[in-house]
Amino acid sequence: MTTPAYAELDDMLGKRWKKPPFVPNPVLRWAIILGFAAYLIAAFSTIEVNWSRVYEGLDRGWQFIISFTRPDFISRWEDIWGGLLESLVMTVAASVVGILISIPIGLGAARNIAPLPIYLLCRGIVALSRALQEIIVAILLVAIFGFGPLAGFLTLAFATIGFLSKLLAEDIEAMDRSQAEAIRASGARWLQWINYGVQPQVMPRLIGLSMYRIDINFRESAILGLVGAGGIGATLNTAFDRYEYDTAAAILLLIIGIVMALEYLSGVIRARVQ
């Protein structure tokens, strides 16, 4: 009992073998653990939870889960269909415009093909678009352009630019230089150089990312309605406010279904282009 099977290994090491820790430096490791624990205790003590309210809510939560088994597509179908169509319309239009604009900005944000002033300008646009979240942009655009899908469309297009340009630029920066140089050596003009030297290298990834972004845009379009920017979100919000959980469940199921379909479609397309 006192001599386990790995006694030989322990003798060789001079001490008991232990799993190597994830952070090798012991001082740093304990500093991280203690600091994080202190933060957690401080944070936990400031969160106020009204447990009796939570307990009362459990019943309603259960009703909501039950309503997923009998979603009500029928009684508010007009509203659901209208909202869903508006969401899809916003998604398609914003994705097309966003992708078209993000290509030149992506080219400009790649250091290896753009001069410094253009690079800085395009990187600035990308940083701005990425730092502002969709919903905040939507609030501002609704204030400026008024309620409706136009604000949502502009929001999604703006967000698409930040996402796609950044990833496209990174892909261009990582491309194979020799192919691009070979095209340039044959005397190609700038546009030809981009078209034959750069584009074929980044096209599969661009298509994949665009499909992914369409997917994200649809998901985001579902919440823009909360601030009045059009789409299914307004219908969903109304359903929650009126405690019509069966309608809300129907909308959520439709969103999940469409997202799954889009994900499957983008998987198929990405597998084909790569």
Binding site: A43, T46, V49, I139, I144, I223, Y243, I255, M260
Partner: protein, 271 residues
């Protein structure tokens, strides 16, 4: 290789005539769909407001500048709440995502036929619904406050973390696992000594990455009443206190940039 021949000279073409026609047709459909969408948006838009937009934007800008800096003193607590929502949400999500990921990964799931689809369903359904919608739902169920925000962030993050984690598990090196298994290790020991060390860097990276995204998302959860700095934003918007709105937006911007910087640093140290 398709070649067009007009009597004497042969010219190289990239595609055959049929291929070009199909491509043009597909493009035509795409353009038609886009135009239809644009028409729908245009119909639902009051164009008078749009033409008026530059004036309105200028007006809002005038009202919002300069930001009301004294208001900063009242934002300490909301920022702390926002940070807590993101951190606790991420922690709860990770605790739930790890078992989900092991059940979803092809090489560790107990049953490919029954349990894996269930785990994948959890991943897809939590991932496809935005945290604002989860918050909306949870506020109706458990009442407004920070707690609803924490749970909303947690539910939303499960799918994201579990998806990335199960992909990492599926990519592990089999030979290490086999080496541990061949020493007579039990199922749990194989997990602890064969699989866990291999996915640990990925796990830490995912955790920090998601925390960063959660900071971003928790800043706006208050718009629907789930605590954090979004509550102040909503309150200021409701009373049209534009100098406060611009200050809050600046604070959110700083928080997002700082959290992104921290997460990039930590991920850089791990990988």
């Amino acid at each position: 290789m398709p070649i067009s021949d007009n009597g004497q000279t042969k010219t190289w073409q990239r595609r055959t005539t049929g291929e070009s026609l199909t491509r043009w047709f597909v493009w035509l459909i795409c353009v038609a769909v886009f135009l239809y969408c644009w028409q729908q948006i245009s119909e639902a838009t009051t164009w008078f407001f749009v033409w008026d937009a530059p004036r309105i934007a200028g007006d809002i800008w005038d009202r919002a500048t300069p930001p009301r800096l004294e208001y900063l003193t009242q934002l300490g607590r909301p920022i702390w709440d926002t940070l807590n929502i993101a951190t606790f949400g991420t922690l709860i999500a990770l605790v739930l995502a790890v078992p989900t990921a092991f059940l979803a990964a092809r090489n560790t799931t107990p049953s490919v036929l029954f349990i894996r689809p269930l785990a994948l369903l959890i991943i897809v359904s939590t991932r496809s619904i935005n945290s604002l919608i989860w918050a909306l739902l949870l506020i109706a169920i458990i009442g407004p406050g920070v707690f609803a925000g924490v749970i909303a962030i947690a539910i939303r993050s499960i799918g994201f973390c579990a998806k990335l984690l199960y992909e990492a598990i599926e990519e592990i090196d089999r030979s290490q696992v086999e080496a541990i298994a061949s020493t007579g290790a039990s199922r749990w020991q194989v997990m602890a000594y064969g699989i866990a060390p291999q996915i640990m860097p990925a796990f830490a990276g995912i955790a920090v990455f998601r925390w960063d995204i959660n900071i971003r998302e928790s800043t706006v959860l208050g718009l629907v009443g789930a605590g954090g700095i979004g509550l102040q934003l909503q309150a200021s918007l409701n009373v049209l206190a534009w100098p406060q709105v611009s200050l809050i937006l600046l604070v959110i911007l700083v928080a997002v940039v700082v959290s992104e910087w921290i997460s990039a640093k930590i991920r850089g140290a791990i990988i």
